[in-house]
């Protein structure tokens, strides 16, 4: 009697194990491409990059000739004027964040039942986001052409004698690029805000209207507070992008004039592929990761705690 029970039990267990094995095989076959990508292009790459950040690895050198230099790359960063300039520029570029977010919020507020043709506006605002930066850069180059560009012609017609040199001026290149950044991302952000707005119950606005609260008041007392989770998320995301996005700068100014538009992300590309100092570039990218981690941790902590 007893032995029979265990044999049934055993049989059951065996069946279960076989079933699990089948699930395992199916699962791993399905994620095989994902897994290969993860192991090779993430795991291996991360370890490789970390190790190389302690070496004098360069593009021209054979891997066997690479020398271990310890913390030298990280220490060098402190006296690297270009790196410091990139960090300072990055802080400047952060000004783009509040402007973009505030505009996006207003656009979303308007597009949420306050205006006609909202679907059409939604489409138009999203267009810059899906357009190639390279294609748009040509537009920017001609619009802001110091001598013949329409922007400066307009300024001169308005009586400005010495209009800015825009992309070739160390002062005005940053705002010019900042404008492009805002133009490209504001539509996407307002779409995200719009989705969040649609989650706010309409009754809140209705009862506020009954109490005589104006539209402006409703915006500040209801919309802004209830959107704060989205605002927070978008702020963190856009700050992080500001540090790491480099292709827009590569396309527009290649960091120039001088060092005036370098950001950390672009400086890494520059050090790696223009100076072919791959080891040093690896070290900077780990510093970049550290900076980004700080924001990720802040986001995680705040979102957990505030119970948004």
């Amino acid at each position: 009697m007893r032995t029979k029970l265990t044999s049934i039990e055993l049989e059951k267990r065996k069946l279960k194990r076989r079933k699990q094995l089948k699930e395992d095989i199916a699962g791993y076959l399905f994620i095989l491409p994902n897994l290969v990508g993860f192991l090779v292009f993430t795991m291996f790459a991360v370890v490789f990059s970390f190790l190389m950040s302690f070496t004098d690895w360069s593009l021209i050198k054979k891997l066997s000739a690479v020398k271990w230099v310890g913390l030298k790359n990280y220490i060098d960063l402190f006296s690297d004027k270009w790196f410091q300039a990139s960090v300072i520029n990055n802080l400047w570029f952060l000004l783009v964040v509040p402007v973009t977010i505030f505009l996006a919020m207003i656009f979303a507020f308007l597009m949420n039942d306050k205006i006609f043709f909202k679907k059409g506006f939604r489409t138009i605002l999203y267009l810059p986001n899906i357009t190639s930066t390279v294609a748009v850069s040509v537009v920017w180059f001609t619009l802001f052409n110091p001598r013949m560009g329409p922007v400066n012609q307009l300024l001169m017609a308005l009586g400005v004698d010495n209009p800015p040199q825009w992309l070739i001026s160390t002062v005005w290149a940053k705002p010019c690029i900042g404008l492009l950044m805002i133009w490209k991302s504001v539509g996407y952000y307002s779409l995200l805000y719009l989705a969040a707005l649609q989650g706010i119950p309409k009754q809140l606005y209705e009862s506020a209207t009954m109490d005589g609260a104006s539209g402006v008041k409703q915006f500040f007392k209801i919309t802004i507070p209830l959107l704060s989770p989205t605002t927070f998320m978008l702020t963190i995301l856009s700050v992080m992008n500001n540090f790491k996005d480099w292709s827009l700068i590569q396309i527009m100014t290649e960091g120039g004039p001088g060092t005036s538009t370098y950001n950390i992300g672009y400086y890494i590309y520059y050090v790696a592929f223009r100076k072919s100092r791959m080891g040093y570039a690896s070290a900077i990218s780990w510093v970049l990761l550290l900076i980004l981690m700080v924001f990720t941790i802040i986001r995680f902590y705040v979102e957990k705690k505030k119970d948004f």
Binding site: P33, Y126, P128, S132, V138, W140, W183, L288
Partner: protein
């Protein structure tokens, strides 16, 4: 009476706000209008002030230069872009739907840990993996080939996998169970049940990755050196640096590059713009 006045006032506000929004969106459209308008002008009248948005005389020399194939082989760059984009989108579709389905519906051991690991790779800046990836491609001998552009898309983009997992999670388990009783394996469940139900997700995936691959600049910039292998973004950047004065041709090239994305987006957007929005929020 009072109510009537309130309604009228509300309508007036709505019209007023619509006008403001129209001005704003028109301003946002100006760069596009400038691009299209100048692509039909010659290089001299392009900078005429005040701006003639509709040129007096349409000048097709820019388009002729671009598509005529005498000075530059634009058609080749266009075909390069079509080829790499098609392969990238195909790769994304295969790897992300398969992976997303497995992470959502197959109970294999280690699933949650692996998914979390995959997800966390989204936080790693591309700068970290960029240099090792360059070396891997060098060792594989695929630097300066199109393979370097599309290969990574076959290996499961984290965002796409995450996106598809979201959609596959909505597929009811009962439907899969009844298929299982009928003797269907996971491949058939995936193909016949899950994939058709996740169609909205697939269209978002395909659209987003089409746009990203079509505009993909960083990869080709790092991995491609031969001019004949350039994709459109690289080619236009190259023209801009080389033939700075010939703005008309560069504008014509830019328009030619932008039009396919615009057509696709305007034609399809009403089907899934809500899905793009909500997927972005979750990501």
């Amino acid at each position: 009476m009072n109510n009537e006045g309130y309604k009228r006032k509300k309508l007036a506000v709505k019209i007023f706000l619509t006008v403001i929004m129209a001005i704003v969106s028109f301003t946002m459209l100006l760069p596009f209008l400038w691009m299209i308008s100048s692509s039909f002008k010659d290089s001299f009248s392009m900078f005429d002030y005040p701006i003639k948005w509709i040129p007096d005389k349409f000048d097709f020399s820019g388009y002729k230069k671009v598509w005529g194939g005498e000075e530059v082989d634009f058609l080749r760059f266009f075909m390069n872009s079509i080829k790499t984009t098609a392969l990238s989108v195909l790769g994304t579709f295969i790897s992300c739907t398969l992976g997303g389905f497995a992470y959502a519906k197959i109970r294999f051991r280690g699933r949650n840990g692996l998914f979390l690991a995959k997800l966390s790779t989204m936080m790693i800046p591309s700068q970290i993996t960029m240099l090792p990836t360059f070396m891997i491609f060098k060792w594989l001998g695929i630097l300066d080939t199109h393979i370097a552009i599309w290969l990574p898309f076959f290996l499961g983009q984290p965002f796409g996998t995450f996106l598809m997992r979201q959609y596959f999670q909505k597929v009811p388990d009962e439907m899969l169970d009844s298929a299982r009783i009928d003797g269907a394996g996971y491949l058939r469940m995936f193909k016949d049940i899950a994939l058709p139900l996740a169609q909205a997700g697939v269209s978002v995936l395909v659209f987003l990755y089409f746009v990203w691959s079509w505009n993909f600049y960083e990869g080709p910039l790092l991995y491609i050196h031969s001019t004949k292998l350039y994709t459109l973004p690289l080619a236009i950047k190259f023209f801009t640096d080389e033939y700075q004065t010939n703005y008309t041709a560069i504008m014509a090239a830019s328009v030619s590059m932008t039009v396919p994305v615009l057509i696709l987006f305007i034609g399809l957007q009403r089907f899934f713009i809500e899905d793009i929005t909500s997927s972005g929020l979750k990501g």
